[in-house]
């Protein structure tokens, strides 16, 4: 049977949040790119919650933006409510979260993809990867679709999300589909297995969608967006995001709800053992919560609009795989949902993904050259986690094709670095979600300074425009200059100052002090002190914010920077890619196995593998020295 054959630089499989970033990055870097999706309508689909961002995920979106990715811009265009979370806490944990108009989000991303040069969008199911042998190792040469089409390329990026051998479960009903009833991809996993790829089976779930017209909002607590909205993208004009926002609603489950759930547990596929996949602990279904936290008499339920042009409401906090009839009964016990009509059922979804320990930190498979992957396929969860991996995979696949240095961010540079390092290094038995507590240097990795941290990398890679990078350099200089000025300003204990301090609820001065000391007082901050700092230059808010944070938390930041220095030392000690740890005399067997699986790139990464002890690290160091001697002797 004659079939089509086409040539590209890069094939991206899947057009979810990872696939979109990957395809955009690759095409923007000049790669001839083709993006495959099972359905054009599902490009950048948000099959679960209707938000972008949230704690630590907001950080990821900012970092994507600083590197030249798309997610931040896209949500700025399509959000319908926005909130900065944790504002009462330290700047390191401030996190932006926006409610998206799902349909617009998807459509805007589609427009951006369609407008991109070097990018072809194709509706087709990829069923096979094609490889060749090069020096005994598999090398990617293309993909094949189910209709027989062959697409030759130099690199492939797999972003298959939850579609591989997907199975949706609602009570006793099992549907062999992807999310939202979309067609599953049933062939690709087998092709990967044939290439020796280790496959995991994970599970996740989503709550029901209700008809908003059937909900009694008067019984719920209204949740408004921020009065002054902060955009996600560093390039969005803040004035453009001051829109009329929609509300979300808070209500609670009660004992009645829990009773219904408990008596129906035998019909839950999770408890009946029908579900094989491992679900995430951070996003438990309501039946999980009721069982695991039996002492709680209520759980929060958030009612969130799915968009402006739909009456569907997302029931956050009540994802479930209970049967349809139980769902009706259970949701209707919740105040405000007594007469609610379900538009779409809640369901659990199971899918194939990989053990990400098989990847290098570049997101390339260790055993298959040129094969990159990102998103839920790598065992993560969440739109933002997917998008940032997609961006990195897109960049590194392009670098692979060009024969240039890949981009690897380390744990002290970005949340993205933490996420990828965790995935490729640690054992991961559930869908991985970002959390601020996973970042050991989170005081430095703030959402407010993502541009300062990463713009240079984005620019050097070729994704961030020069004007943008120039601005960040300028901003950096302005911050430094103002810090210098402030450090020299002395404040006398005069009458004006004293009465000013009193009016701010701050203790008057005994003697003159520096402006820096005053900024550090918990009840004061940089902006507040303008009246007693007459020589202050006019500066943009983003500059003033950095000055304030740098001064206020200087001691803590300094300590973390010192820790980072220590950390970097170990990261810089590189390990040979081809090191066979069986040959290292003195390693314990458990360490050998783990090291041979992960093949860490540095001593730093090796030390983070569970089951590798400090003594093992010493042994590796000694071994490497030994090898060096041998080389020197030759």
């Amino acid at each position: 049977m004659p079939c089509i054959v086409e040539n590209y630089d890069i094939c991206v499989v899947g057009a979810g949040h990872a696939g979109c970033e990957a395809a955009l990055a690759a095409s923007r870097l000049g790669m001839e790119t083709i993006l495959f999706t099972i359905s054009i309508e599902s490009i950048a689909l948000m099959p679960c919650n209707p938000n972008i961002g949230g704690t630590s995920k907001g950080h990821l979106v900012r970092e994507i933006d600083a590197l030249g990715g798309e997610m931040a811009k896209n949500i700025d265009k399509t959000f319908i409510q926005s909130k900065m979370l944790n504002k009462s806490k330290g700047p390191a944990v401030h996190s932006l979260r926006a409610q998206a108009d799902k349909a617009s989000y998807s459509m805007e991303m589609r427009k951006t993809l369609q407008a991109a040069k070097h990018l072809t969008i194709r509706q087709a199911e990829v069923s096979e990867i094609l490889t060749d042998k090069e020096e005994g190792k598999d090398k990617i040469v293309g993909v094949k679709t189910i209709s027989g089409g062959t697409y030759l390329c130099k690199s492939v990026i797999l972003c298959t999300g939850t579609y591989l051998k997907a199975r949706c479960l609602t009570g006793e009903m099992v549907a062999h589909t992807g999310p939202n009833g979309l067609q599953a991809a049933n062939h690709l996993s087998d092709s990967l297995k044939k290439h020796g790829v280790e496959i995991y089976r994970f599970k996740t779930g989503t709550p029901a969608r209700m008809d908003g017209n059937s909900i009694d909002f008067s019984k719920m607590k209204e949740q408004l967006g921020d009065e002054r909205v902060v955009p996600f993208s560093f390039t969005t004009n803040p004035e453009d995001v001051q829109i009329d926002q929609v509300s979300c609603w808070l209500t609670y489950t009660n004992e009645k709800t829990h009773e219904i759930i408990k008596k129906s547990l035998n019909r839950s596929p999770l408890f009946a053992g029908i579900i094989e996949g491992t679900g995430p602990r951070y996003c438990p279904s309501i039946e999980d919560k009721v069982v695991k936290f039996a002492d709680k008499d209520k759980h929060q339920v958030f009612i969130e609009p799915e968009g402006i042009h739909t009456n569907e409401m997302y029931v956050g906090g009540m994802s479930s795989s209970l049967p349809e009839d139980v769902q009706y009964e259970m949701y209707r016990t919740v105040p405000g949902l007594e007469h609610a009509k379900i538009v779409r059922n809640a369901y659990a979804i199971e899918y194939d993904c990989i053990n990400p320990n098989q990847l290098y930190p570049t997101l390339e498979f260790k055993t298959i050259g040129g094969l990159f992957c990102a998103g839920q396929f790598n065992g993560s969860s969440g739109y933002e986690e997917a998008a940032c991996q997609g961006l990195i995979a897109g960049i590194n696949a392009s670098m692979h094709v060009k024969g240039e240095e890949p981009l690897v961010l380390d744990r002290s540079e970005a949340y993205i670095g933490v996420l990828i390092d965790d995935l490729v290094t640690k054992e991961n038995f559930e869908p991985y979600r970002m959390m601020t507590s996973r970042a050991e240097y989170r005081l430095i990795l703030r959402q407010d300074n993502a541009d300062l941290r990463l713009s240079k990398k984005g620019y050097e890679i070729g994704l961030l425009p020069k004007e943008r990078y120039d601005w960040v350099v300028k901003k950096e200089a302005m911050i430094a200059e103002e810090m210098k000025r402030v450090s020299k300003v002395m404040i006398g204990a005069n009458k004006k100052v004293q009465s000013f301090l009193e009016s701010c609820g701050s203790i008057p001065l005994n003697t003159g002090t520096s402006l820096v000391e005053l900024i550090r007082r918990p009840e004061l901050h940089y902006d507040m002190l303008a009246p007693i700092d007459p020589d202050r230059p006019l500066l943009l808010e983003e500059v003033r914010e950095q000055v304030n944070i740098n001064i206020k938390y200087e001691g803590y930041i300094h300590r973390q920077l010192k820790q980072v220095e220590q950390f970097k030392k170990l990261e810089k000690k590189m390990l040979p890619k081809d090191l066979n740890y069986h040959e290292v005399y003195g390693l314990r067997t458990e360490a050998v196995q783990k090291l041979n699986l992960v093949k860490p790139v540095s001593i730093g990464q090796a030390s983070r593998i569970s089951g590798v002890s400090p003594a093992d690290i010493s042994v590796i160091l000694v071994y490497l020295e030994q090898k060096k001697y041998k080389k020197d002797e030759n």
């Binding site: 806490k89 944990v93 951070y282 929060q300 507590s437 005399y585 569970s610 010493s618």
Partner: protein, 458 residues
């Protein structure tokens, strides 16, 4: 590359003679300089030439701690090829320990097991042929440190530290849950609550630190293990050694089911004596655990005192014990010399070629001979105290101190009204430091605690 500065007691520890505290690393000189006052007027250690010897005092603030000889070796001409200072003290475990803590207080950190050797190697001081033995050293010392952590933490230290860590972890998880899910968990007025809790944990650590100073975190001394089949008189021996009733002495075989430990000072040599359960083939579960433990203690021992009941013939239990002792430092005691002997010295000698003495533990006869025999073995270098114990102890103490410092920082953050996420930074440091003592790392503890104790997510 810049290296941090490490310190340890570099000699075997005795209550007599001279002991050396060794400091190595970039700040070795600066650290030593801070605590040493040279005899030569106005001369400072920092200004001294490499490879010179100086006479002076170790000062703890204005008090003289010890009169010492200091040897200065600047990089690269030292064992580790780093700046090295060796302080020769007047021996005595107490003085050495004090000098070491002083050094640690002034910027050095306790050396990891085998770290001097490791550094010597990594800095190219040792040749290739020696490399493999370095690995063995690292492993042996590490194994010891691990064993020390598991078996030798005095009293309930291990349990207490675990409890403290649990408490700290819970608080971190609470803060982190509130950060992660701010619409669910509140932190209003949490600071005051945490301040109280952290104050209590500091008190606990202070108590542990006091104990550490008294030397009871780890049992120090020559690890001496008493073995013998049931009812051979091991407990009587221990009793006459410590001269008071400690172990329960009865005529019922198998009375001592658990190991009993005592610290004894024998003319300046400190012994850490462990009386083990009698070794015999048994079906009794409790006793079996005791016997397994005795075997473990044997493995970690410096000296074994094997008590033979001279009044009854050698049997399979004795054979079993003798088999385990062949490779060890052993003194054999033919006990119950007051009764009619059945077992002779020659009979033992054929099976186990070690020093053999005839004693009666019950009537305290022959005890002087035993003491002399131990002294001789010690001074002839046949038995050595494991200096790792001291280093491990110093490490534990420094970890406790660091954990304490971190908790003080937490209190400071609360006092300064810092946002709550700052608390968890220092709480985490305290948690990690305490973990070092019991040999537990952090790994995914926090994430597990968050998901286990707090209901997260929408």
């Amino acid at each position: 590359m810049k290296t941090d500065t490490i310190a340890a007691i570099a000699t075997a520890m005795t209550d007599s003679g001279i002991g050396i505290v060794r400091i190595s690393g970039d700040d070795a000189l600066q650290t030593a300089d801070k605590i040493i006052r040279l005899k030569e007027k106005k001369k400072r250690l920092l200004d001294c030439e490499s490879h010179t010897v100086h006479y002076g005092f170790v000062m703890e603030e204005d008090e003289i701690l010890d009169e010492v000889i200091v040897i200065l070796m600047k990089a690269p001409k030292s064992y580790t090829r780093e700046d090295t200072v060796e302080i020769n003290c007047h021996g005595g475990t107490l003085v050495l320990r004090k000098v070491l803590s002083l050094v640690l207080k002034h910027g050095a950190r306790p050396a990891e097991p085998g770290e001097f050797t490791k550094r010597a190697f990594l800095n190219g001081r040792i040749d290739l042929a020696q490399a493999e033995s370095v690995i063995d050293v690292i492993h042996a010392k590490n194994d010891f440190a691990l064993k020390a952590s598991i078996h030798q933490l005095g009293g309930n230290v291990s349990e207490e530290i675990k409890k403290l860590r649990e408490k700290i972890l819970y608080e971190i998880a609470y803060i982190e849950s509130a950060i992660d899910d701010p619409e669910h968990y509140e932190l209003t007025e949490y600071g005051e609550e945490l301040s109280l809790k952290s104050g209590k944990i500091i008190e606990e650590i202070d108590r542990l630190l006091r104990n550490a100073k008294n030397g009871s975190v780890l049992k120090e001394g020559i690890h001496t293990v008493i073995v013998g089949k049931p009812n051979s008189g091991k407990s009587s021996l221990l009793n006459s050694l410590v001269k008071r009733e400690r172990a329960i002495v009865t005529d019922i075989a198998g009375t001592t089911r658990d190991a009993i430990e005592e610290q004894i000072n024998l003319n300046g040599i400190s012994l850490n004596v462990i009386d083990t359960a009698g070794i015999r083939t048994t079906d009794n579960v409790v006793e079996k655990i005791g016997i397994d433990k005795a075997k473990e203690y044997l493995e970690a021992s410096d000296l074994v005192i094997y008590v033979v009941d001279a009044s009854c013939p050698l049997d399979e239990n004795d054979e079993q014990i003798i088999e385990m002792l062949k490779e060890r430092n052993v003194i054999v005691l033919l006990n119950k010399s007051d009764l009619i002997p059945v077992v002779t010295k020659e009979e033992i000698k054929m099976r186990l070629n070690k020093k053999i003495l005839s004693v009666s533990a019950k009537h305290r006869k022959g005890m002087e001979d035993l003491e002399r025999a131990i002294e001789e073995m010690f001074f002839h270098g046949e038995i050595r105290m494991n200096d790792e114990v001291y280093i491990t102890n110093a490490r534990h103490e420094s970890s406790l101190q660091n954990a304490r410092k971190s908790l003080i920082l937490v209190e400071k953050s609360i006092e300064n009204q810092m946002p709550e996420d700052f608390y968890s930074i220092d709480l985490m440091n305290a948690y990690e430091e305490l973990g070092k003592i019991i040999g537990e790392s952090v790994e995914d503890d926090l994430v597990n605690e968050i998901f286990g104790k707090f209901c997260m997510g929408k």
